[in-house]
Amino acid sequence: MLTTILYISLAVITLSMLGVLYRVIKGPTAPDRIIALDALGISLISIIAIFSALLRTSAFLEVILLFGILAFLGTVAFSKYLEKGVIIQRDRNE
């Protein structure tokens, strides 16, 4: 029973990923794409979590954590880039 539910949620998330992917490709502006990519990362996190449940293992929890950090960092970096034109500033006093 649980397995079926897991499979169903997997399918739903996949569908949502496809939608987000459409935004990534199509997205008229850069912020659209960035938000879409962030969402894509979060969806991936859920996919991995569901897979962990399916495979009955706790070995992938770190992957989930890491994905969260990466998605956050990537989004922040992109945003900074859009805002300032650089990601790492040379002059800290500015």
Partner: protein, 801 residues
């Protein structure tokens, strides 16, 4: 190491001292010190004469590389001793002559004598080594020292050209000879010549016999300036005259003769040997004497004359091999060819050495060697004239000099072809005496021309750069000694016959001695009214006629265009091969990375696919396959989709994102295939590398940033499809033909017990196989430092940013 070895190495050892003597004793001509070396050696080798004339030999072995069968074995028999005496004897005379020829103020004497001594030692090594590899070593030493000596005046363009030419040709031959030596070793299992001679009967049936024969002969022919490899010798005349006299008349060019004589017992049973040696010899004889007539430079005449005389000796050695096929004759007439070869070898060394020295004197005292500017020197240089006339008449084969005797024996040897009934000699063999006779006529013409045009005729001293006068006595000593030998050997040839010729002939034809025939060397002037005598009379008559009408027929030499001469062909071949290689390397070394990648991938595909096909290596086995889950299919589709996007994307940024997508999908695969560590690492690495790609993309120059999709190239597409196909086929095959279980069970069983860890991947990385990890850390460190260095020291010339 015995005294004999020390004698061979003495020139090398003393060469080390020469520069010190040159610097230390500026007032004394360095040649005086050098003179001691060949003199001592000559006296030393003379002592072997009684031994060898009794038919004994001396063999001394010094182990060099015993594990490879390479020992420095010195073997003294009649042949080796004859050459050793020639080398040291004429060496002494040449050194004496060079003392007066080369001025100690102007010339770099230390160079000269070091090279000369090196050459002398090398020659002694060649003629006295029994081990073929050692022989080859000394052989190359002669090539190198000859190269150095020809290029002695290295600031002259012609000297460098001549040195390079002789180097290329003789080293080419030397390397072929090395090939022959290796083949002989494969056949016989030994490098020792004497042991090979004992095996000669079994060697002749070996399939490698003919290649070995050809390669050895190639070495001998190039060294001895046989047709068509003779072209280096006239250009080697740019060397100082003592060098020409020594190397290019008496010793080095006879190394090939020596080799042929030495290897005769091994090869001479074969008809091919007889035909090749005798045939090339006779062609060389003819071609050399024919070309000598047209030369206007005295040394060039002598060079072509040397070529022709070497051909004579070579053809005699070839015909001498016929003696082996008539073991049972009481009076073996074919043996006379070998006797004549050895006799003429000695004679040629004497008269040609003196003639070269004579030319050197003329050059030294008049400032030119051009025969058109010379003439009428007889009254000014009477002694030189006497030397010249004796040497030339001996060369022409006139009585009462020694050249006459060997010429008669040569003709006898050539006429004996008529009585040969083997190897088809009865049909084409008639060419031998005919060519020999014609060549002798030309020999007569150029010998006469050499003397008469230089010393007789109208004096034209105003054309000469210097005012001519007789040479100093020191310069004349050596040629006088040599022409005295010409006369002595002419009148008393039997002085040589038992002491030197007989042992040498016995060394060349050992199987005849074994079969009980005696070598009976008896040289005498008067044969009676034999065909040889009439041939000689004919030579003199026709030769005199030709010389008298020289001006009328000399034009035929200009009929041969420069392009079709052998020199022209050599030059054209050299420049053609240079241009050809340049064009070839320009054709495939395009400088574009993509071309090289095409090469690499094409070879990759060609080699792997053909191996798969030829070895019938493709296998497919589905028993071990795991079931396919549907999410794996989906992920695979995503992976393929992103890969396709990478290739066909319109802009670079899309490709980049697709690469990232592919990377993340792979990470998902890692999750599915239960590899959490890999998935973690892959995610981080993929993120970092995509951002690095973005960084690169951001720094693209404006122009190329917006380049639309890559153009389609059919070749690239074919190759990439083939590469993919190859890899796929090989993966399937290797999976299907797995032959044993993996060793992972050991790790599974012991990961906790032995290594105290639960995470097996990490335990393998840091415990079971920690060494790999260490060096991967090193790789990362190097990459980091490299990036830092590249960014930091970007400015050209190491200037800091």
């Amino acid at each position: 190491m015995s005294l004999l070895h020390l004698a061979i190495l003495l020139p090398f050892l003393s060469a080390v001292l020469i520069p010190f003597l040159f610097k230390g004793f500026r007032n004394i001509h360095t040649g005086w010190f050098v003179l001691l070396v060949p003199l001592v050696l000559f006296i030393y080798f003379i002592q072997y004469l009684p031994l060898t004339s009794d038919g004994n030999t001396v063999t001394k072995t010094f182990e060099w590389i015993p594990s490879l069968g390479i020992d420095f074995t010195a073997h003294v028999d009649g042949l080796g001793l004859l050459f050793a005496l020639l080398i040291t004897g004429i060496g002494s005379l040449v050194v004496l002559y060079s003392i007066y020829y080369l001025a100690k103020e102007k010339e770099a004497l230390h160079n000269f004598y070091v090279y000369l001594l090196m050459f002398m030692g090398a020659m002694l090594g060649v003629v006295l080594s029994d081990n073929l590899i050692v022989l080859y070593m000394f052989w190359e030493f002669t090539s190198i020292s000859s190269f150095l000596l020809i290029g002695y005046w290295y600031d002259r363009e012609r000297s460098r050209y001549g040195a390079q030419k002789s180097m290329l040709i003789t080293v080419f031959g030397g390397l072929s000879m090395l090939g022959g030596i290796v083949l002989l070793y494969i056949m016989g299992g030994t490098f020792s010549i004497q042991e090979l001679i004992n095996m000669s009967e079994s060697l002749i049936t070996d399939p490698l016999f003919v290649p070995a024969l050809l390669l050895i002969l190639l070495g001998a022919f190039t060294k001895s300036a046989q047709f068509p490899f003779h072209i280096w010798l006239p250009d080697a005349m740019e060397a100082p005259t003592p060098v020409s006299a020594y190397l290019h008349s008496a010793t080095m060019v006879k190394a090939g003769i020596y080799l042929v004589a030495r290897m005769s017992p091994v090869f001479a049973e074969s008809g091919l040997w007889l035909w090749l040696v005798a045939g090339f010899g006779i062609i060389t004889l003819f071609w050399g004497s024919f070309n000598a007539v047209k030369q206007t430079d005295l040394k060039a005449i002598l060079a072509y004359s040397t070529i022709s005389q070497l051909g004579l000796i070579m053809s005699l050695l070839g015909l001498g091999a016929a003696a082996l096929h008539y073991d049972q004759l009481d009076d073996n007439i074919y043996m006379i060819a070998t006797i004549a070869a050895v006799f003429h070898l000695i004679n040629h060394a004497t008269f040609k050495g003196s003639l070269f020295m004579m030319v050197g004197i003329v050059d030294h005292e008049t400032g030119t060697r051009d025969i058109r500017k010379l003439g009428g020197l007889v009254n000014l240089m009477p002694i030189t004239f006497t030397i010249a006339i004796i040497g030339s008449f001996s060369m022409a084969g006139l009585p009462p000099f020694n050249g006459f005797l060997s010429k008669e024996m040569f003709l006898t040897g050539m006429l004996s072809v008529f009585e040969l009934d083997l190897f088809n000699l009865s049909t084409w063999g008639v060419l031998f005496p005919v060519l020999a006779w014609i060549a002798s006529v030309f020999t007569f013409v150029y010998s006469i021309k050499l003397v008469f045009k230089t010393f007789l005729g109208k004096p034209q001293f105003d054309k000469l750069p210097k005012k001519p006068h007789e040479a100093p006595i020191g310069m004349l000593i050596s040629p006088i000694i040599l022409v005295s030998l010409v006369i002595i050997f002419g009148f008393f040839p039997n002085l040589l016959s038992n002491s030197m010729i007989k042992p040498a002939v016995e060394a060349i034809l050992p199987s005849l001695v074994d079969s009980g025939q005696t070598v009976d060397v008896n040289i005498y002037f008067w044969h009676g009214f034999t065909p040889e005598l009439f041939m000689t009379i004919g030579i003199i008559a026709v030769g005199a006629l030709l010389y008298a009408t020289l001006a009328k027929w000399q034009g035929i030499y200009n009929r041969i265009p420069e392009r079709f001469t052998l020199n022209g062909m050599y030059d054209a071949g050299l420049s053609l091969s240079e241009k050809g290689s340049l064009r070839l390397s320009n054709a495939y070394m395009t400088g574009f990375m993509r071309t090289y990648l095409v090469y690499i991938f094409s070879f990759f595909v060609a080699i792997l696919l053909s191996t798969l096909l030829i070895k019938d290596g493709f296998a497919i086995d589905t028993t071990d396959l795991a079931p396919i889950e549907f999410y794996e299919v989906i992920l695979a589709i995503i992976l393929v989709a992103s890969a396709v996007t990478v290739i066909f994307a319109k802009s670079r940024i899309t490709s980049l994102i697709a690469v990232g997508a592919a990377g993340y999908t792979v990470a998902l695969f890692f999750v599915l295939f239960r590899a959490p560590d890999l998935a973690l690492t892959q995610l981080v690495i993929e993120t970092v590398s995509v951002s690095l790609f973005l960084l690169c993309f951001y720094h693209f120059p404006r122009i190329s940033r917006n380049i639309e999709r890559i153009g389609f190239k059919l070749g690239n597409a074919v190759i990439s499809v083939l590469v993919g196909l190859t890899i796929t086929l090989i993966s399937i095959s290797s999976f299907s033909s797995r032959s044993f279980e993996s060793i992972s069970q050991y790790h599974i069983d012991n990961v906790y017990d032995l290594a105290a860890g639960g995470n097996m991947v990490n335990v393998i990385l840091v415990d079971f196989r920690g060494f790999d990890t260490l060096f991967e850390i090193a790789v990362l460190a190097i990459a980091a430092m490299g990036i830092y260095a590249m960014i930091r020291y970007r400015a050209a010339g190491g200037k800091e940013e």
